[in-house]
Symmetry: C2
Subunit: 211 residues, 2 copies
């Protein structure tokens, strides 16, 4: 009888564990979709710094983005120094730069080596504008925001390019080379606010087969 | 004794379930990061069409993207009609348009209503260029690619804007209004190829504190 009871309990336990594992498996896709759905801009942070491993995870996510012809035109400046962060605050906007323990400045290489369109196949490559750099760097920025949310961190996309009054001081303060353009600054920290994500679903924005 | 054994087994079961749940919880972040890491461009699809629910999930992910001043400048044209898809193939490139069961054309509103910079506070808003539309629509495109991968679908980002030879025929064929610009076309289907994701991790692209 003892063995029988133990057997029944073990069976029940096995079923429950199997159910838990099944939920876990199913929720892999759901976890991704929920993370996309619930990510929202966080502009208030605690003073707790980010761990190096967290910063690396965010940058890995950024570099996993797709890019036109796989050019990967991105670079990142990670700023944790309080004085530098504070100096990036312009005109009282973007106080988050001073308050977030970490900033990730997403930069793009605005030129690329390629053969001019009408040149013969054996012509040398020349340095030409990369028309796709801001698009590719935007995908990288979104990946970082999604990864931050997954880690329980709070972040917000603040724009640099194409606003000269924003990118010019950033280039100057961080010593960013001429051909490199900061697209966005992402303040990241542990959230000190928990806003409800906006519901942005608008079926009227969907057209079928043609506009 | 019977009760005691059952108690021990129940305790063990509880511990195992708790461990399973903990793994499930932990893997929620890991699922997101792995999805970002393993997403890759898929250019070969089976003939199986997408379910309506899948299309809606992809569009919901797109509309969940962040946007400058929350303008949400995106609209989407979903094309499943084979003839329309085939007509979008230009110069033999982008054969995926004909082969994927579904195309999502990510479009952006290139203008927005706002008050001119130097106008008084009570001045009426005017239709002005939206400098952020392509950035916002890029974030929406990346969200759709990540959601597709999470659902086990295959997709690839193909560029329209800023390449006139690509966006002009798309606008023409789909009847897209003058002020709306197609940024990208995403062919989506069930994958018929399983390429290994590229490792794009480049620590040399990271700068600390300044460039």
């Amino acid at each position: 009888m003892k063995t029988k009871t133990a057997g029944v309990v073990a069976l029940l336990a096995t079923i429950l564990i199997a159910m838990a594992c099944n939920t876990a498996q199913k929720s892999s896709a759901e976890a991704v979709l929920e993370n996309i759905r619930t990510r929202t801009s966080i502009r208030q942070y605690t003073s707790e710094p980010l761990k190096e491993a967290e910063i690396e995870t965010l940058l890995k996510a950024g570099m996993a983005a797709p890019s036109g012809k796989n050019t990967q035109p991105w670079s990142f400046v990670v700023v944790t120094d309080s004085e530098t962060r504070t100096s990036l605050v312009t005109k009282g906007v973007n106080r988050m730069y001073a308050e977030a323990p970490c900033l990730i400045v997403v930069c793009g290489e605005t030129t690329m080596l390629r053969r001019p369109a009408d040149a013969p196949a054996d012509a040398p490559e020349e340095e030409m504008p990369n028309p796709n750099w801001s698009i590719d760097c935007s995908a990288a920025t979104e990946n970082i925001l999604l990864a931050a949310h997954a880690l329980g961190l709070g972040a917000v996309w603040t724009a640099c390019w194409p606003y000269e009054d924003r990118y010019a001081p950033v280039k100057d303060i961080l010593g960013i080379p001429e051909k490199i353009m900061p697209l966005a600054i992402i303040p990241v920290g542990h959230p000190a606010e928990f806003p409800v994500p906006k519901d942005k679903w608008k079926p009227e924005r969907i057209h079928r087969e043609r506009w």
